[in-house]
């Protein structure tokens, strides 16, 4: 099965936080994974590279959970696909 967007987000978080990928679940809280403000900025940076997207500062500030990360990335990836289809 190909990796879903959620799988890829969890993998990026695991790599950035240097955790085994099994430890990172969609419902894990940032606290459980030891993600502080600087870690969160690191993860967003790596997500931008992984998906070739740009996450703006305002949206970045609102993200508090992994679900929100997955939703946000999904939205941006779809927006990118739509604009490239139109273009």
């Amino acid at each position: 099965m190909p990796e879903t967007i959620q799988d890829r987000v969890l993998r990026v978080i695991a790599t950035t936080q240097r955790l085994p990928v099994e430890r990172v679940k969609p419902d894990s809280s940032f606290e459980e994974l030891g993600i502080d403000s600087m870690d969160s900025i690191n993860i967003l940076f790596d997500l931008e590279s992984e998906f070739d997207i740009e996450i703006n500062d305002e949206d970045a500030k609102k993200i508090r959970t992994i679900h929100e990360m997955v939703d946000g990335v999904t939205y941006l990836v779809e927006a990118k696909q739509n604009s490239s289809q139109q273009g």
């Binding site: 403000s37 600087m38 900025i41 967003l44 500062d57 970045a60």
Partner: protein, 410 residues
Amino acid sequence: MQRVVVSGIGVLSAIGLNREDFWDSLAHGRSGIGPIPEDVGPAPEVGMNQVRFKNGACLRGYDPEIHFDRKALTFMDRFAQYSVLAAREAAKQAGIEWTEELRESAAIVTGSCMGGRATEELGYWELFHNGRNRVHPLTIPLGMSNAGASHISIDFGIQGPSFSISTACSSSAHAIGQAFWMVRSGAAPMAIAGGSEAPLFLGGLKAWEAMRVVSPDTCRPFSKNRSGMILGEGASMMILEPLERALARGAKPLAEIVGFGMSADASHMTQPSPEGAGRAIRGALRDAGMRPEEIGYINAHGTGTEANDCMEVAAIRAVFGSHADRLSISSTKSMHGHTLGAAGALEASASVLAMVHGVLPPTANFTIPDPACDLDVIPNEPRALQVQAALSQSFAFGGLNAVLAFRAYP
């Protein structure tokens, strides 16, 4: 132990290329924040078009060739130019008469966070982008963070203890504090101290962008809708000398520098701690032999970021207790931007000038009160108020804190 006074101040900033213009802007609450010029990159095709934020606090109308000949400029990054110009203005105001003896023993202590990294970037562009196999031979002497101190020493012929301190946004507060202690102890008969920064170059701007701490519009310290810091460039230098020496030569002290406190958070590289900040504030008061109730004005670190402002208010409340509600506090970063390694010096100068003129500069761009920052932050309107003592606070990334205390000189 000698009493030490500030007898001269020099400033270059986005709100004035000299001390008088700087003060005039502060005293009228005028902000110097605006669009950063397009040409911040190493080549015409790479510039502000690659940066998400657009605004900064840039020197306007600055022409280096008015102040330095072309040969001298070959050896100076902008940050070093600013250092020398601020030192010249400070020395001129102080009316220093340079003797051989004074030149041999005077001290220079400067602070800079990034030094001449703009020059380094040009070198690396040649190497990594243009595929050249060499960089300019002056990359090292222009890039090093002590170039400001070195150029001041060459410009004035000063041969005493001279060095630079790099503690990010506390650099020049640490520099002034160190120079203050050297003059107070008698280790140096006079010091030029302050800081300088020229951080508006593409690689540096991109690095700040990546930290997601720069505002898309302007710097609104302590406002509920604050959206981050605004980077600024500039320099400020002070002349510090013993009170007796200043009076003996007929100089007019601007203020007395009375205390210096330092601390390290020992917790996190970018999340400041109110305990660490509080220890530095207490240290400055203890060093000055002052009670908290004697302080009337605080020039806050006040970056306008989520991380700083609430932390700083909590630290002030913890140290000052009920007196916190009687303090007047402002962040002049709302006008001259966050000048990083020069910030401590610009803000110490703003604090001294506020006592000289009996006017407290406001926190500009203030819109919506924040219950988490419920102190009197002098919103938008300057305040005619003669305070007798002031603090200037600097809390750097890396958790390294420096606080300076000044007393009005009658």
